[in-house]
């Protein structure tokens, strides 16, 4: 659980570094996100005059919900501390709660950018969440459980075989992950253009430790999505419950490698594409929803797809 927290800034640092190198810039050091976090935690909080308690509480709740969700994913071994509760539907609910709180907080201070951000985020969420549910159905139907440890164990076993529906689910999950993490082409985490922001527009008014919480939550979320993709679709190397220390260490090392590979791929994808118009995003996410739906339907037609 703490490992996730430790690794999250590093992963974001890696993505930023790779993007910078692809743009032929030197880029910030890999450890910069840790420093950012420390800097933000030391800064005083500037609150809007009309901010209510909700605005102050939201960052902590958002962070907690995201962190718990990330901790439920079997990152490098099945049967971790919280794995028995690691239900996919619970995880989705946690993330949705976090988003809902952030949207409320953005609306709370009553600036126009907060409103724009919240409305765009809800638009994205209203499509990303059903798509996620569809993906979960697909996977649950195949693995016979919504419990992540079971799914990972099943996926690692020989029984899976090559399935069309899984390929659909993978593509859909990647699309959802891009949208959920506010990456290009849906959102641009590095932009300074307040009119084009989605996630950033919602958190424009945050500062100091509140901002630190929100930034950390965003980084953890990225780790969460990459880990989720890794544990469902590339579960090789996961240490089994009760395996020795060596197995755990191997699993952890492989997990880090998977994260790094995911981060590099993400950076390359982001560099090669421009951002979409806001109204193209539903089409993009609709693709994920359709793929998820198709995968589920295929499974109903025949269990062997």
């Amino acid at each position: 659980m703490f490992l996730v927290l430790l690794v999250a800034p590093l992963l974001t640092g890696l993505v930023r570094k790779v993007k910078a190198r692809l743009q032929r810039r030197r880029g910030p050091p890999l450890l910069q996100p840790y420093r950012d976090l420390r800097r933000l935690l030391h800064k005083e909080v500037v609150l809007a005059e009309n901010a209510s308690w909700l605005f102050r509480v939201a960052p902590y709740l958002v962070f907690t919900a995201t962190w718990v969700a990330a901790a439920l994913v079997p990152t490098f071994a099945t049967g971790l501390l919280f794995s028995w509760t690691g239900d996919l539907i619970a995880i989705i609910a946690l993330l949705a709660t976090a988003r809902f709180l952030l949207g409320l907080a953005a609306l709370d201070i009553g600036t126009s950018f907060g409103g724009i951000g919240a409305s765009r985020e809800s638009l994205i969420a209203s499509l990303a969440e059903p798509a996620t549910i569809m993906i979960v159905f697909t996977i649950a139907l195949i693995a016979g459980s919504t419990q992540l440890s079971h799914i990972a164990a099943f996926m690692a076993s020989e029984d899976v075989g090559l399935r069309v529906s899984l390929a659909f689910a993978l593509v859909a999950l990647v699309i959802v992950a891009i949208a959920e993490n506010a990456r290009i082409p849906v959102d641009n985490p590095a932009t300074h253009l307040e009119l084009t922001m989605v996630h950033e527009a919602m958190v424009l008014e945050y500062s100091g430790r509140h901002l630190a919480m929100i930034e950390a939550a965003a980084w953890v979320k990225l780790v969460f999505h990459l880990s989720l993709i890794a544990c469902i679709f590339f579960p090789f190397g996961l240490a089994q419950n009760g395996g020795g220390l060596v197995a755990y260490a191997m699993g952890a090392g492989l997990w880090l490698l998977k994260l790094a590979a995911g981060g590099v791929l993400l950076a390359m994808f982001e560099t090669s594409i421009a951002k979409m118009r806001v109204f193209r995003v539903p089409g993009f996410l609709g693709g994920a929803l359709m793929l998820g739906l198709l995968a589920t339907l295929l499974l109903f037609i025949s269990g062997s797809f």
Binding site: K19, L22, Q23, R24, R25, S112, F113, G115, I116, S119, R120, I184, P185, N188, A190, T191, H192, L193, E194, L195, T196, T271, S272, I273, A274, K275, M276, R277, V278, F279, R280
Partner: protein, 501 residues
């Protein structure tokens, strides 16, 4: 009191009466001729009209109307392009354009401590005036989004008031004037050296173009020909400035669509241009290198070699970037059909540069009316497109970069030898007036000036091309989504500083 004014060069200036002034305004409203500039003096107003060959005598005509009581018939009443110019005349000179539909202050934000600073008797400024009344918008589900004047990026200040229906922009209203420097006040009574420096600082990214326009206006007033080598060096610097700016804009537009790769490449090329300018002319932006009477520095053989190397490098590295732009579907999806300016509107406002050329307005002061030296003996094309969207403005820039590269090569091939500066004797013992147009990367810069008997500036008016481009931005964004505004704005890239003066 009508008749042609003596000592006004190179185009004639005519005094007209009230009826003549109103007739000219009607003619502009009917689309015969383009309003080039409209400026005031404490007791007089002037208007420059460009006639691009629709009538028997193509050329530029300056009309002047004496208005000792400060009142004159508004041109903005019938011709919208004049409205902001007249609001400015009202702010600076206290003139009263009778019938002007919009009487809110424009550049004056009530913070100067003085009202009508350029009038004969400036009034003390009023106390901080009440809030600026934006145009009212009524309707259900509409909301306002105020943006600026301070922005998140390192750009100039300007306030934008959007009224949106969801994501769709129903109306955009600009408010400018935050970087008013009082250039025209500072010009009064300045000697030519100081005035040239002031003119060069009107808009830093077009400093060469302003230098050329100012120098040519002075030279016209004094009836002086700069040496040929100076004229060619001026054109060389102007094309380098155009290259640097267009390269920067090309990358920056793509960056606003979150395609950072292009910015990274273009910024590098732009930096190469600026460093070469530094090596050749001793200043990255070539500020103060163009002076009345010639240029302040010469180009040596080393400089020529550096410029040729620069041409070779850009010639090699630019085409792949154009290909990249043309082949990135996600990028084109953002730029095509975004922020369309209608040809009719561009014509009516007389928008220059990429804003005008993207929707079919071919005016280029290097070419129009015979052009100015040395462009009359250079081969180049003025690219013109139909669509008028962001994509068209990008392509105009791409084509102009190619043209500028070719022009620099031609200039280097045929650069004449000789002196680069002639001494000036500005004290002519009589009042002289001169005007000039020069093509900046944004469009045509207009300068009009009057020198007194001692050769000091009595009045100098500098009109940035942005005056006729900012209003079109308001029209272009309508019915687009608010998230596309940064892209539209960057594709216009109007000057704040040049506009606010």
């Amino acid at each position: 009191m009508t008749g042609t004014v003596t000592h006004h060069r190179p185009w004639p200036r005519r005094m007209v009466d009230m009826a003549g002034w109103e007739r000219a305004a009607e003619r502009l409203a009917a689309g015969q001729g383009t309003l080039l500039a409209l400026w005031g003096e404490p007791d007089c107003v002037h208007m420059a009209i460009l006639d691009e060959g629709a009538s028997a005598s193509p050329g530029i005509e300056v009309l002047s109307l004496a208005c000792p009581d400060g009142r004159f018939p508004s041109v903005g009443r019938v011709h919208a392009a004049a409205i902001r110019l007249e609001r400015t005349m009202c702010d600076l000179f206290g003139l009263d354009p009778v019938g002007l539909p919009d009487t809110r202050p424009w550049l004056d934000h009530g913070r100067w401590g003085v009202a009508a600073p350029l009038s004969a008797v400036p009034r003390p400024g009023q106390e901080e005036s009440s809030a600026y009344p934006f145009l009212p918008v009524e309707g259900e589900d509409l909301h306002e989004v105020p943006v600026g004047p301070v922005h998140a990026g390192i750009i100039e200040p300007g306030h934008f008031r959007f009224t949106c229906d969801g994501e769709t922009v129903v109306r955009l209203e600009e408010r400018l004037g935050y970087v008013h420097k009082g250039t025209e006040s500072l010009m009064r009574g300045a000697d030519l050296d100081r005035a040239a420096r002031l003119a060069a600082r009107t808009s830093g990214d077009s400093t060469v173009a302003y230098g050329i326009a100012f120098a040519r206006a002075v030279e016209a007033a004094l009836g002086l020909e700069p040496p040929p080598r100076a004229v060619w060096l001026r054109a060389l610097m102007a094309e380098l400035e155009r290259l640097a700016n267009h390269l920067g804009d090309f990358g920056a537009i793509c960056n606003d669509a979150s395609f950072v790769l292009m910015l990274a490449h273009c910024a590098m090329l732009r930096e190469r241009v600026l460093r070469t300018a530094m090596a050749c002319f001793g200043h990255r932006l070539m500020m103060d290198r163009v002076v009345p009477g010639g240029v302040a520095c010469d180009l040596d053989a080393q400089g020529v070699a550096a410029l040729r190397a620069l041409l070779a490098e850009i010639g090699k590295r630019f085409p792949p970037l154009v290909n990249l732009y043309d082949n990135t579907a996600s990028l084109l999806d953002r730029t095509v059909t975004t922020g369309i300016v209608k040809p009719e509107l561009a014509r009516r406002f007389g928008a220059g540069g990429h804003v005008g050329r993207a929707p079919r307005r071919a005016f280029d002061s290097r070419r129009a009316l015979g052009g100015y030296p040395p462009y009359d003996s250079l081969r180049f094309e003025v690219p013109v497109l139909e669509e008028g969207d962001v994509n068209a403005r990008v392509w105009i820039r791409i084509r102009e970069i190619e043209q500028s590269l070719a022009l620099v090569a031609q200039i280097l091939d045929t650069l004449p030898d000789g002196p680069v500066r002639v001494p000036l004797s500005p004290a002519t013992g009589e009042t002289r007036e001169g005007m000039a147009l020069a093509e900046a990367f944004r469009g045509d810069v207009f300068v009009w000036l009057r020198l007194d008997a001692e050769g000091r500036i009595a009045r100098c008016h500098l009109r940035d091309p942005s005056w006729f481009q900012w209003p079109l931005l308001e029209a272009a964004i309508e019915d687009n989504i608010i998230a596309d505004f940064p892209l539209c704005n960057k594709s216009f890239n109007c000057s704040y500083s040049g506009h606010d003066l």
